[in-house]
């Protein structure tokens, strides 16, 4: 976790530094804002990882000497096949077409998106192994 944190915070520092130098030197607003925002995108997850890396056990995937049995146990639960990403994608497709061909396309878009979100949430609830045991 520490390497990830260092990577993100390092990038964030660099972008923030660039942003300040660029702003002082050029006085141009758009680029300065975007650079500083880029810095924040490094700090936000980076500081979160750093905070956790000081509080959690070193993960097997961060240890040079970890053997495969050190990672024994549950890795993660993964969803099986699911129709909802396709439904949501088609909803977004209709929304995109609504931008071009008129707002009536937004009706199927909203319907599909709501249907897909509900479907995906219900699917996740049903599939949660914690709730079954």
């Amino acid at each position: 976790m520490r390497a990830e944190a260092k990577l993100l915070i390092g990038l964030g520092l660099f972008f923030a530094l660039c942003g300040v130098v660029y702003w002082i030197w050029s006085g141009e607003n758009a680029g300065s804002v975007m650079l500083v925002a880029s810095g924040l995108l490094g700090f936000l997850p980076g500081s979160y990882y750093l905070w956790w890396s000081n509080r959690m056990r070193v993960r097997a995937s961060d240890r040079d000497d970890a053997s495969i049995p050190d990672g024994a146990g549950v890795v993660e639960t993964f969803p099986g096949s699911s129709i909802w990403p396709f439904t949501l994608g088609m909803g977004a497709f209709c929304a995109g077409l609504a931008l071009v061909f008129g707002t009536w396309f937004a009706l199927p878009a909203i319907g599909l998106v709501i249907w897909a979100l509900l479907g995906a949430v219900v699917e996740s609830r049903r599939g949660d192994p914690g709730s079954a045991h």
């Binding site: 390092g10 758009a30 049995p69 890795v75 993660e76 993964f78």
Partner: protein
């Protein structure tokens, strides 16, 4: 329906110590769909990645066909093969399809989607349903972009950069430009979701012992690409929404009339656009690194230098956007010139390391290796002319001429060769069957020679003053000859691409099984079967260096350990 992935210790003193089981939860409800429903509902990163790869290759074929039409138009002076308006649409759609819908999605949606989870020993991407959504958004975006050919007025015609105010409703009315905006919004969100998935997968799902500094260079580069996507793509999406508002809701963000700033579009576009160049390039830097190491039968030379060069390129790439805007007269020239020139340093380190990896190795000239070396040569032309263009005085002279066209076509054609290297290298892992090497080598030589026959004359054309984006030019022996050479090169590349399709069909019928590790490769993905099982690994080898498969297959070879000595007791103590 979820599947619980569990690693269980199988014991024994062999190197394979763990089996990976998949335990379907709700087994009584569990029934896998088949046929087209399987393709529609799959959340397996390999199925999604393959869909991405096939779709992006279709986009490549369409965009390539448009390029041939452009070259036919330019083969003769005062040509009337297409009208000038159609020519504008041709080069706009050629660029848009190639950049937005082929090379990027091929890299991070296709290759990386399939290979990154395999390389870190993960059962799937971190968010499989989000991954599937990415693909459907990408497919929707691709269809939306192509719909432009079927609406009145035709597709967008303002260049793939869509500069305001040309792209506003006054100068570009009609449905075509709106379809272009909608397509980029859809494919932009797809890229953002893939970026999230890549970062999360690499941060959270690495196998035990697969530390950050043991990841293959391809995975490292895709992590950096994931971060760059998260930095850059939201900016483009915001810019496009503002452009749409200018076109339809009467805002004046990009028009002087209402107090807006036209050049703001260029700032926003290139703040996405230049990191995008590295979002496109870094994946293929990773591909050729892995390919060169494998076919030189050596570890990557200067592994850590390679990683830090990648990070440095990514960091610098966020601060160079306005080198596309030198001639606007409103940007800070020295800042962007210095930052752009600095990128040559980490890129140079990479070239040094690629040559170092080959140096003294037993180089095997497979098709993938040929494409990787073709990448190095062609990218070098693009990179070196990039250094010229980073210098404002030279850029003033060559801006918007064919010199710039040639510069970035050297770069992107090199990336195309990297893409082919990736397909010939990982194709056997993905499908389980080898691609034919004889047709492959013919494909390489035709493509490589064609690419350079097309691009090199364009450098001279640019220096002679031929502007880019012109559909006709007056008769002038020098211009005509050079343009005809460029057309010959583009036809060679077209034939080479047809050969590639022939190769796919031929190899599909011939079906030479690949086996798990046909190249005696080094990285983890070659440990599993070809094609890999549903959740990727039945067993994992011990991971003690950045090339676990090699260590397992060559137990006598000296171990390669970075950053620490193999002293298990000492490190055990340190951990307690």
């Amino acid at each position: 329906m979820t599947e619980l992935i569990e690693r269980q210790t199988a014991g024994g003193d062999g190197a394979i110590v763990v089996e990976v089981h998949e335990a379907p939860h709700d087994a009584h409800e569990h029934h896998e769909p088949t046929g087209i429903l399987k393709w529609l509902t799959s959340t397996d990163h390999k199925v999604i990645g393959l869909s991405y790869t096939v779709t992006s290759l279709v986009m490549f074929l369409i965009a390539g066909a448009l390029a041939e039409l452009i070259r036919i138009q330019l083969a003769t002076p005062n040509s009337s093969f297409v009208s000038l308006g159609e020519f504008n649409q041709l080069f706009t759609m050629h660029g848009s399809l190639m950049i937005y819908l082929f090379i990027g999605p091929f890299a991070f949606g296709g290759l990386a989607n399939i290979i990154v989870p395999l390389q870190v020993g993960a059962p799937d991407m971190a968010f499989p349903r989000l991954n599937a959504l990415s693909y459907w958004l990408y497919l929707s975006g691709s269809i939306t972009m192509l719909l432009g050919f079927f609406v009145a007025g035709g597709p967008a015609d303002f260049g793939w950069v869509g500069y305001a105010p040309l792209s506003t409703s006054i100068y570009s009315p009609g449905a075509g430009p709106d379809l272009w905006i909608a397509a980029l919004l859809l494919s932009g969100f797809s890229a953002i979701f893939t970026g999230v998935n890549l970062c999360a997968t690499i941060f959270y799902l690495r196998a035990p012992g697969m530390t950050m500094f043991r990841m293959p260079i391809f995975t490292w580069n895709m992590l950096v690409v994931g971060i760059l996507i998260l930095l850059a793509f939201p900016v483009l999406t915001a810019g496009l929404i503002m452009l749409y508002c200018d076109r339809h809701f009467g805002t004046h963000i990009y028009s002087l009339k209402g107090g807006g700033v036209p050049v703001l579009w260029q700032h926003i576009f290139w703040f996405w656009g230049h990191p995008e160049v590295y979002i496109l390039a870094l994946p293929f830097f990773g591909v050729v690194t892995d390919v060169i190491a494998t076919f030189s039968h050596k570890p990557v030379f200067g592994y850590k230098g390679m990683v830090f060069a990648t990070i440095t390129i990514a960091a610098l790439s966020m601060g160079v956007w306005a080198h596309h805007m030198f001639t606007t007269g409103v940007v800070l020239l020295p800042f962007f010139s210095i930052m752009s020139l600095l990128i040559a340093v980490p890129t140079g380190i990479k070239f040094f390391n690629w040559i170092g990896t080959m140096w003294g190795g037993r180089v095997r000239w497979s098709t993938a290796m040929l494409f990787a070396v073709g990448f190095l040569i062609t990218f070098l032309f693009g990179g070196l002319t990039g250094i010229y263009l980073a210098s404002p005085p030279l850029d003033f002279f060559t801006h918007d001429t064919y010199f710039v066209v040639a510069h970035f076509h050297s770069v992107v054609l090199a990336l195309g060769m990297g893409a082919m290297a990736g397909l010939y290298y990982w194709g056997p892992k993905i499908t389980g069957y080898m691609l034919d090497e004889r047709i492959g080598k013919l494909h390489f030589w035709l493509f490589f020679i064609g690419a350079n026959v097309m691009v090199l004359p364009q450098y001279w054309l640019g220096l002679l003053g031929m502007p880019r984006r012109v559909g006709v030019y007056p008769h002038n022996p020098e211009w005509t000859d050079l343009n005809q050479w460029a057309t010959v090169g583009s036809v060679m590349m077209g034939v080479a691409t047809l050969l590639f399709l022939v190769n796919i069909v031929y190899s599909w019928f011939k079906r030479v099984p690949a086996g798990d590790n046909p190249w005696d490769a080094q990285t983890l993905e070659w440990f599993t079967t070809s094609p890999p099982p549903h959740h990727n690994y039945y067993a994992l080898p011990p991971i003690r260096s950045e090339r676990p498969t090699w260590d397992y297959n060559h137990p006598g070879a000296p171990a390669l350990v970075h950053g620490h000595r193999e002293e298990p007791e000492a490190s055990e103590l340190a951990r307690v």
